[in-house]
């Protein structure tokens, strides 16, 4: 079913909306949560939470990008369930991803407390200002938690090109956060 029609079902308060959402995107949402959590049960719960929140928020929202809207909720719930202390033991990708992201933070900013929304605003500004190639690869890696190999496969480029592009984007982000980024 088309996204527009699924959203119409939500507006009509028709519970089939959730079934249709699950049919269209359930698998992808589960994969996204599983990547973060490495736990089937928690991942399923994250997807269920996503549907619940979607039901609560549509209406009044009418998302332009329906899957992105769902994925954003799902990522939020999955990260909320993540046991950060044990993530390393489960070899969760988020551990290496946060290590990589650590390199983007200028030392002058490391002491600063920053709210998620403030970081989000800074990241929007940053992503807006870099090339599409850079921000798409950056998002695949740090938002969708894709592996380097998956990104290379997805865009038909070599793994070393992905790594190099990410290295450069992280450097650009570090510079951006240092010069233009988060107001502390």
């Amino acid at each position: 079913m088309e996204d527009v029609k699924i959203i119409d079902l939500y507006f009509a308060r028709n519970e089939d909306a959730i079934c249709q959402t699950d049919a269209a995107y359930g698998r992808k949402l589960f994969c996204l949560a599983e990547r973060i959590l490495h736990n089937e049960q928690d991942s399923e719960e994250s997807v269920s939470d996503t549907y619940m929140k979607t039901w609560e928020t549509i209406p009044p929202h009418r998302p332009t990008y329906f899957y992105a809207y769902l994925a954003k909720l799902c990522r939020f719930f999955a990260l909320g369930k993540l046991d950060w202390k044990n993530a390393a033991k489960r070899k969760a990708e988020v551990v290496s991803l946060t290590d990589e992201m650590e390199q983007c933070i200028p030392d002058q900013r490391k002491e600063a407390e920053a709210e998620g929304k403030e970081i989000g605003r800074a990241m929007n500004a940053f992503l807006e200002s870099i090339s599409q190639e850079s921000h798409v690869i950056f998002m695949r890696r740090y938002w969708f938690c894709d592996t380097i190999a998956e990104i290379a496969e997805r865009y038909g480029i070599s793994e070393s090109k992905v790594k190099m592009r990410l290295l450069r984007t992280r450097k650009q982000l570090a510079e951006f956060l240092s010069k233009e980024g988060i107001a502390v």
Binding site: A23, G26, T64, Y65, Y67, A68, Y69, K72, L79, W84, V94, L97, T98, D99, M101, E102, Q103, I105, D107, Q108, R109, K110, E111, A112, E113, A114, G116, K117, I119, G120, M123, N124, A125, F126, L127, S129, S131, Q132, E133, H135, V136, I137, M139, Y142, W143, Y155, G156, I157, S158, S160, M164, L167, K171, Q172, E175, K179, E180, G181, I182, V184
Partner: protein, 612 residues
């Protein structure tokens, strides 16, 4: 703010970026400022060691191997001609010698360092606290990101033209210089500066060291801790940037981070000041120690006499931060850690895309005494791996690359290789690994050993030999038994099957098995991939199942193939045809893919598929 905060903060980015990352399937590539030819840049004096042979020989080569050097040499360039390596003195080095010859009034040079092995930055500052950063690279553009709204214009100057971005409080100009083979950009938070004039003045001058820091008008070596707690050693040295440098020390379990700046107080501002503060002293001067809810402590202090601000941070409760701070003094200059600089050397392999190169049974013929054949891989996915092992557990690993695909292969970051000759072919030896090519056959060979083995002698013995039994050949046979032996019977002229791989269901709980077949046109290397595999879904319609087979493709059409529900999609050059034999919950999907044949042509092949 930590990496975790940043990772979590990404959840608040605009949903359009999420959507774009999900829906974009083809990258548009980096926008270039000028049409600076890559070839010119790759030939840049300091950046490349190219394997070159005569133009006549080049014409018949079916595989190319390039060694790209990112590590900046001091003042010489190595040139490889055939198998002979010679060293020539370079007249200039773009990174050290090319920089703005004229800077705006009131500004002076402060510091500079490598950004990567092939780029560097220089910082200029004025008394008002404004700065200008000059960045130069021999291989790529680094566009500076500015906070929106950003205005973008093209500016012209004598050396060329560039793109000038401006916002409310900053401006950035980036450009490329084809003649001198570099990309550059200038960034400043001073909107009164004429960046185009500064860019115009970029040219060769007296050589400036790669790493330098001026303080109080004199070259200065940054101070750092001279005495560390027992067990701690240096683990990371960051490049000098914006008058700031950080070092990290570790004992394996914990870290001590150190930062020094001649430009700004490194202590957090009041707004973010959410820790617990204690007064302290470093060498008798006032300092401040911040603690947070964990065991993290950070000590901030200023050395007024030397004129710098610094901090030390650790979560190791046994570390006496004040004692470490009091040991901070002048020491030897430390080299920037490799992790900041990207790969130092990369070996690139690429094949002539239209040359069909068929697998042959070629491998080392003189295996050292004591080694036994351990593993023989399928000659699939364009390569075949073979391993030998001795009783001590030492391995000889050999990979034959006979088909590299559109993107070739890259081997990066393993240090400067030694150039060797293997039966008249150029090879690169790095430690216990050796990579070489045979230009006429179109093959590349990768040989790695863990024990005391003469790599060169072993490599020289690589030659055609009897076909070795593939270790997991029964996997493919079982998969064919389980799924059926399906083949395309109406192949286009000159096309042959040149690859087969499969994996069966391993037990009752397993649900995934596959067979893959590769078909190639021997005259022009056109390719068709045929895969059939099991699926298990919770889809509710056949269309949904079919969409999974051509995931991400635009405007698919639903058709019937072999009486089964099918789907086709033509996305640019990429053509997909798929059909399913089963129901919505489970079955076998058949998929054909090609970048040279159209959907119509693939449909003809699909309809000819028969089970043996």
């Amino acid at each position: 703010m930590s990496g975790k905060d940043l990772f979590l903060g990404l959840n608040y980015v605009n949903v359009k970026f999420v959507n774009e990352a999900e829906t974009v399937t083809e990258l548009k590539g980096e926008r270039k400022v000028l049409s600076v030819r890559k070839a010119v840049l790759i030939a840049a004096a300091i950046a490349l060691l190219a394997v070159t042979i005569t133009a006549c020989a080049y014409a018949i080569r079916r595989i190319r191997m390039n060694l790209v050097q990112y590590h900046v040499p001091a003042q010489t360039e190595s040139v490889v001609i055939g198998n002979e390596q010679s060293e020539e003195a370079l007249p200039v080095n773009v990174l050290t010698d090319c920089y703005p010859q004229s800077i705006p009034e009131g500004y002076h040079i402060l510091c500079g360092d490598l950004s990567t092995y092939n780029s560097r930055n220089i910082l200029y500052v004025n008394e008002k606290g404004n700065s200008i950063t000059f960045y130069i690279s021999t291989t790529s553009i680094e566009e500076m990101a500015l906070r929106p709204p950003v205005e973008e214009t093209t500016v012209e100057f004598a050396a060329g033209e560039g793109i000038l971005k401006t916002n409310k409080g900053a401006q950035a100009l980036c450009w490329g210089n084809e003649e001198e083979a570099y990309y550059a950009n200038l960034y400043t938070d001073d909107i009164t500066v004429d960046l185009a004039a500064m860019a115009d003045s970029v040219g060769y001058g007296t050589s400036i060291p790669i790493s330098f820091w001026y303080h109080k008008g004199e070259p200065w070596d940054p101070w750092y801790p001279q005495e560390l707690p027992a067990g701690y050693t240096i683990s990371e040295v960051a490049p000098v940037a914006s008058g700031y440098q950080s070092l990290t020390f570790t004992n394996g379990d914990h870290y001590i981070r150190y930062g020094i700046s001649t430009q700004e107080d490194l202590a957090p501002t009041e707004i973010s000041d959410q820790g617990y503060w204690e007064e302290s002293f470093v060498n008798g001067a006032p300092a401040r120690m911040k603690r947070n809810r964990t065991t993290q402590r950070t000590l901030f202090w200023e050395n007024k006499e030397e004129g710098f601000y610094a901090f030390l941070e650790t979560m190791d409760e046994s570390v006496d931060l004040v004692a470490v701070a009091e040991s901070v003094g002048s020491g030897e200059i430390m080299e920037v850690s490799e992790s900041y600089l990207g790969p130092d050397f990369t070996i690139e392999l690429e094949q002539e895309p239209t040359a069909f190169i068929e697998w042959q049974s070629v491998y080392p013929q003189k295996i050292p005494v004591g080694y036994e054949l351990e593993y023989v891989g399928d000659p699939a996915y364009g390569q075949q791996s073979i391993e030998w092992k001795n009783q001590e557990g030492d391995l000889i690993s050999y990979t034959l690359y006979f088909r590299l695909g559109r993107y070739g292969r890259e081997f990066e970051g393993s240090g400067e290789p030694e150039v060797v000759s293997i039966n008249g072919h150029t090879g690169y030896k790095t430690g216990n690994s050796l990579l070489w090519t045979d230009e006429e056959l179109g093959f590349a060979y990768d040989l790695r050993v863990t024990g005391d083995v003469d790599l060169i002698t072993l490599a020289q013995s690589v030659a055609p030999g009897p076909e070795l039994p593939v270790t997991n050949s029964d996997f493919t046979l079982k998969a064919l038994e389980q799924l059926g032996d399906y083949r395309i019977t109406a192949l286009p002229d000159n096309m042959i099957e040149d690859g087969l791989s499969g994996s069966p269901l391993e037990d009752e709980d397993d649900w995934y098995s596959y067979v893959r077949r590769w078909y190639y046109d021997q005259t022009n290397n056109d390719q068709v991939y045929f895969t059939y595999e099991t699926y298990v879904t919770d889809c509710s319609t056949e269309e949904e199942v079919l969409r999974l087979c051509v995931s991400g493709m635009t405007e698919p059409e639903f058709v019937t193939i072999h009486g089964c529900p099918g789907i086709t999609s033509q996305d640019g050059d990429r053509a997909y045809v798929a059909w399913i034999n089963g129901d919505v919950s489970k079955g076998v999907s058949f998929q054909l893919f090609s970048e040279q044949y159209t959907v119509e042509e693939l449909l003809k092949m699909a309809n000819s598929i028969q089970k043996r």
